[in-house]
């Protein structure tokens, strides 16, 4: 039809033009800044305001930090060295670090003990926090409380050993009878453990050597950041099983059990922790048998555990409620009884859902352990406000000490919350 051959077309490009680079203001850092910092006029103003705020913060703190003095013996010497210039007096940290970390009464030559316990804690927590590690490592976790107790408090080794023996006896009885019925196994185990503890309770004083391997340290000598960590770790681990029990109790179809749990949970959640610490401090002793002399540390642990277990129970209840009803029905239709259904089907899923909430509670609880300074226990804050700031050498060194407390708490809490986010991503089995 057409007789125009190819040469009538003046030019046909056979290769694609190589892409030319984007204009300078639409690529690279310039584009990024235009998009993210100066997109609109108000945005640009906000950016400038933010830069100013950052400048103010840095200008206020950086000279102070970098001009800091690390090796003097008192604030007066510090001021002499600084000679009127702005600078921090970090020597309070180098001189009093031991008090900040261990309290002022813990024997100085025994610091290796809590330190060892602290390092062991990582080994004990690792298999709990990271599932990929071999399950056998859980043995370390199981042994850790007893070892740590012995390391920190010292005294006769028989106390933690017999406590462990009780648990072992309980577990053996449980493992023997659980195939028959969970209730028989559980209560049999508890009974066996209690029997072992009562019997060994009579034996321990006889076996206690005159000179124990590790010098005994009474609870009231514990202090510093160590006290915060001990309270946090102990109370969270104790309140987990209690919280699960309370959450299950609150879901129970038995009205009496349900109402006991509801009243307990709502009561504890309705009052501030500090009133519960008052209870531990001035009231709880009245409820123990006369002359039993339960020490303040244990009383505080009891109250904080009750406190956190109520909150954990609510988180777990949320997890239980979030499970589809089909899971409960499926467990029933398989013919599982209540303990089996809970152990094998419901709780593994419900706990998985509740992990972020539980971690939140744990972080909150760890922060709340500073409240014990109000009832005159010398945790890190109690040490700062009490012995250190009141001493003639360091009267007036507020910011270095409070900054140190901020840093140690921030490091721990931020790591825990990062771990929780990692775990959440890790456990997300729904494919999105």
């Amino acid at each position: 039809m057409s007789d125009t051959p190819a040469q009538s077309v003046a030019f046909v490009r056979e290769t694609a033009i190589p892409p030319s680079p984007a204009p300078a203001n639409a690529s690279g850092i310039v584009k990024w800044m235009r998009d993210n910092l100066f997109a609109t006029w108000p945005n640009a103003l906000l950016t400038i305001a933010s830069i100013y705020v950052i400048y103010l913060i840095l200008a206020g703190t950086m000279p102070w930090i970098f001009n800091g003095v690390w090796n003097t013996n008192s604030l007066a010497e510090c001021r002499e060295v600084l000679d009127g210039t702005v600078g921090a007096c970090f020597s309070v940290l180098t001189e009093r670090w031991n008090q900040l970390l261990f309290g002022f009464k813990y024997p100085v030559d025994q610091y290796w003990r809590p330190l060892t316990a602290f390092l062991l804690m990582f080994a004990a927590l690792a298999p709990v926090l990271f599932f990929d590690l071999p399950r056998k490592l859980l043995i370390i976790t199981a042994l850790f409380p007893f070892v740590a107790y012995w390391l920190i408090w010292g005294g006769t080794i028989w106390t933690p050993l017999f406590a462990l023996l009780g648990f072992v006896a309980g577990y053996l009885v449980y493992a023997r009878f659980v195939t028959q019925s969970f209730a028989v196994g559980f209560f049999g185990g508890v009974f066996a453990a209690v029997v072992v503890w009562i019997v060994t309770g009579y034996i321990t004083p006889m076996l206690a050597p005159e000179q124990p391997l590790l010098e005994a340290v009474p609870s009231r000598d514990l202090g510093g950041y160590m006290l915060n960590m001990m309270l946090g770790l102990t109370c969270v681990s104790l309140s987990l099983p209690l919280g699960i029990a309370l959450a299950l109790g609150r879901q129970s179809s038995m009205p009496l059990i349900k109402w006991i749990c509801v009243i307990f949970i709502e009561f504890i959640r309705g009052v501030p922790l500090i009133t519960l610490l008052f209870v531990a401090n001035v009231m709880l002793a009245y409820f123990f048998p006369p002359g039993s002399g339960v020490d303040l540390f244990l009383r505080v642990v009891i109250m904080i555990t009750m406190f956190s277990s109520a909150y954990i129970a609510e988180v777990i209840r949320g997890g239980l409620a979030a499970l589809p009803k089909g899971q409960y029905e499926a467990a029933d239709s398989l013919g599982l009884d209540y303990p089996q259904a809970m152990r094998l089907i419901i709780l593994p899923q419900a706990l998985k859902i509740s992990i972020p909430g539980i971690v939140n509670i744990a972080v909150g609880l760890f922060k709340d352990t500073t409240l014990v300074s109000v009832i005159s226990m010398f945790d890190i804050l109690g040490m700062i406000r009490g012995p250190i700031l009141a001493s003639t050498d360091w009267n007036g060194v507020y910011w270095e000490l409070l900054g140190f407390a901020c840093v140690v708490f921030f490091v721990v809490c931020y790591s825990i919350s990062q771990y929780s986010q990692w775990l959440e991503r890790r456990l997300a089995t729904d494919h999105r």
Partner: protein, 412 residues
């Protein structure tokens, strides 16, 4: 469909108490009740034995006895001869005051930070993330003490304001920030009813006018809605509403002769105006900035919970930006934000008990602190203290339930 019923009738055997589903829950509950009763009895007998050994009894008579200590920040009349009950009431009012103030400012901080954290501006959103992480991960008690230290150790003393070579000066000649507290101008009425003593009446009058304005403004808005529903044209209510809010108030304040009492340095200290003590400021500011970080996260989660399709659908219907926000996004986001927000308010109220660490006279510091130590009535004081917080908590949760029921998606 067949079901296998539990065997009916027959003879009752003891093993059926455990094995028969009809009786098992009864058995378990009976056991639980027995254990509970035994535990309570055990605790009670220990308590009575201990009290007897210590020569104490349970009695609330101490509430009527003179407290014998001074409180520096009070909302009602109080002196050291007032009763312990009066001191407790002062404490309750102080608790409510700081909780109320902190709730308002925490909401402002939280909403600002939460919205800004979602900003397109990279720097601003990172700055807000920094704020949230820093404040969430450090105990509130440390924040309270830090701000209290700023208030007492960094602020200049009243002496620094004196003379020609004053090192500090009052902000705009109205506010004085000193280490003894912050002094702000205080309003008073020159032509008030009942002179100096009747000043409460004047404030009630002002509140009454504000309430009346609120209802009138609501009436106007409802009428505008009705007209819009009838005719499709919405009458402009902006000016009438502004007039309803401000004209009566200004007229009333003018009649009463509103005037400001400006603090001034007299002798060794500032006189006049309203003094806000350092402990109150520390507690107020620390609680609001700490809780603000949590509220920011709630606000962010709430806004992100509204799916993008909602915004797009609203735009497709032709709504403008601000109407999309107020009519579509906010109502849905609020449903997510409000319940955690209220539980943050509850947290503020409970955390205000940390006042005892900086010496602010809230209920924990008066009833649970000084009164407890002076009278030695530990059990009574702690019980009353818990009762107070429990009542507050239950009231707030009741309010939250009412709100949740009102806001619940109406499902059919």
């Amino acid at each position: 469909m067949t079901t296998i019923p539990d065997p009916q009738g027959g003879t009752f055997r003891l093993s059926m108490l455990l094995n028969d589903t009809r009786y098992r829950s009864m058995t378990l509950q009976a056991i639980a009740a027995l254990i509970l009763a035994l535990a309570l009895f055990y605790l009670y007998s220990n308590l009575t034995a201990n009290l007897r050994a210590a020569g104490l009894n349970i009695s609330f008579d101490f509430l009527g006895a003179p407290a014998g200590y001074d409180i520096n920040q009070t909302l009602v009349d109080y002196n050291s001869q007032s009763s312990n009950l009066r001191a407790a009431i002062v404490g309750i009012l102080n608790t409510l005051l700081v909780a109320f103030l902190a709730c308002i400012t925490a909401t402002i901080f939280g909403v600002l930070a939460g919205v800004l954290r979602l900003s397109n501006n990279w720097l601003v959103s990172k700055l807000m993330a920094f704020y949230v992480e820093i404040f969430r991960n450090i105990p509130v008690l440390i924040w309270i003490i830090i701000i209290f230290t700023i208030m007492t150790a960094v602020m200049p003393g009243p002496r620094a304001f004196r003379g020609d070579a004053a090192t500090s000066s009052m902000l705009m000649d109205l506010f004085a920030f000193t280490n003894r507290g912050v002094y702000i101008p205080g309003p008073y009425f020159t032509r008030g009813i009942g002179g100096e003593e009747g000043s409460v009446v004047n404030w009630l009058l002002v509140i009454g006018v504000l309430v009346a304005s609120y209802f009138s403004a609501r009436f106007m808005t409802n009428r505008a809605n009705a007209i819009q529903a009838d005719t499709g044209i919405r009458p402009n209510t902006l000016w009438t509403n502004l007039a309803i809010w401000f004209v009566p108030l200004i007229v009333l304040l003018f009649i009463l002769g509103l005037s400001w009492d400006i603090p001034a340095l007299k002798g060794f200290n500032f006189q006049g105006g309203i003094k806000i003590g350092g402990p109150l400021i520390a507690l107020w500011f620390a609680l609001s900035i700490y809780t603000g970080a949590f509220i920011a996260e709630n606000v962010r989660a709430g806004i992100q919970a509204v799916s993008k399709g909602q915004t797009e659908a609203a735009s497709a219907l032709g709504l403008r930006g601000n109407r999309v926000m107020s009519l579509v996004v906010l109502p849905q986001a609020l449903r997510v934000i409000i319940p955690p927000l209220i539980s943050q308010y509850l947290n503020i109220t409970k955390n205000s008990s940390l006042a005892i660490a900086v010496g602010y006279a809230d209920i924990t510091a008066t009833l649970g602190g000084i009164t407890l130590n002076q009278t030695g009535r530990a059990i009574e004081c702690v019980l009353l203290l818990m009762l107070f917080y429990l009542v507050i908590s239950l009231l707030i949760s009741a309010g939250m339930n009412v709100y949740n029921n009102a806001m619940k998606l109406k499902e059919r």
